[in-house]
Symmetry: C2
Subunit: 222 residues, 2 copies
């Protein structure tokens, strides 16, 4: 099946949105927690969180214009901080429901049945139920002129992992142990099964399969 | 477990890379096909392809500086076109092996055992073995000053789907039918199992579970 530019142009809006959203492959599913200066909380599911770099530890996301997460963007700009919280298999419906167009004075935490949690000095709320939570300091926002979406880049300042055993001694986090889900298209949620972990690729050496290394906690408590 | 900024700063390089790469959640696994003006081919696995918008159909990716995919970036800038090819469960090792630092005159297609394929007027090679292939026209590149990575944005011009039955009549593409894989961290590959597909969220209406709609081809051939 070949779908060309003209075919894409001729699709009705919803079909086009479903199709194009499917093309990048599997996506991350994260809840972005924010609050405005007065403490009014907001929570929004975002499927476009992506890794930018490890040193400094930078993470990016795309926020669509004129859509619900606009409150998210306003709060991030107002306070300079936000949280990223992994969605796991037991909070999928609550997470998805945050994409409804709630008024700004309504906290999506209350509306969908998730609990805000404050940790350390971070002014933005975390999701209590999430098992991997990240505090992020805003570094830059910029408008992508091609379609007026916003690229938001932040630096990771704190990582909270609710299950020590998911942290491996080489730094790898076992997302399957946390039941973190993946997204496809706009609205389909998936659990995952590990196929393999592969060694660093070299030109002159065959790949090997890495067993997930011993967990940090295992070593501490032999 | 709490990992703060200082802890992150004190990690050795590899541990830090593994940890920070795990935090965004599941990632897409795509092979980027390019050629330079003289036709020298390059193929590179990229885990940072993400959706930017449906109208126009834009797709983004992050290319690290001074790393193997630099040939990819050079070719994209030289020719203005590239292909994005989903990685499925049967080509994981070949796909991962493209991340080795091959010299520019070596085609990763040959080195890893994948086959270049040309379709339509696209000057960049597709991966024959991939089941979902996209031709992309370069729209912009920009350096992210925070860490000197490059944000590459392209417009989708052609979509090739090797299994018509994966295309649903509402535009959704069934990635599980294509056995497209997800990535976590730097190097772990996962298959997926659908949990649910959820309806568009509204403030005043409960969510419903959507069954994957009848496939386009089913309707054409009743």
């Amino acid at each position: 099946m070949h779908i060309c530019s003209t075919d894409i142009d001729n699709l009705d809006k919803l079909t086009r949105v479903n199709l194009i959203n499917s093309l990048s492959g599997f996506k991350s599913a994260n809840l972005i927690g924010t609050a405005d200066k007065r403490g009014q909380e907001n929570l929004s599911i975002v499927s476009s969180v992506f890794h930018i770099g490890a040193n400094p530890p930078l993470i990016g996301m795309i926020i669509r214009p004129h859509s619900v997460p606009r409150h998210t963007l306003e709060n991030i700009i107002e306070t300079g901080v936000y949280t990223i919280n992994h969605v796991h298999n037991e909070i999928i419906e609550q997470a998805h429901q945050t994409s409804a167009r709630y008024d700004k004075h309504i906290s999506e935490f209350d509306a969908v049945g998730l609990q805000a949690q404050y940790k350390g000095s971070c002014k933005a709320p975390f999701v209590l139920q999430s098992k991997l939570k990240i505090a992020v300091k805003l570094m830059s926002t910029q408008t992508i002129e091609l379609n007026q979406t916003e690229l938001v880049i932040g630096q990771i300042t704190d990582i909270y992992l609710e299950d020590d055993l998911a942290y491996c001694d080489d730094g790898f986090v076992d997302l399957e142990r946390l039941n973190t889900v993946a997204l496809s298209g706009l609205d389909r949620y998936h659990s995952t099964s590990a196929i393999t972990r592969l060694s660093y690729a070299k030109c002159d050496k065959p790949l090997s399969h890495i067993t997930i290394p011993p967990k940090v906690k295992d070593q501490k408590e032999p």
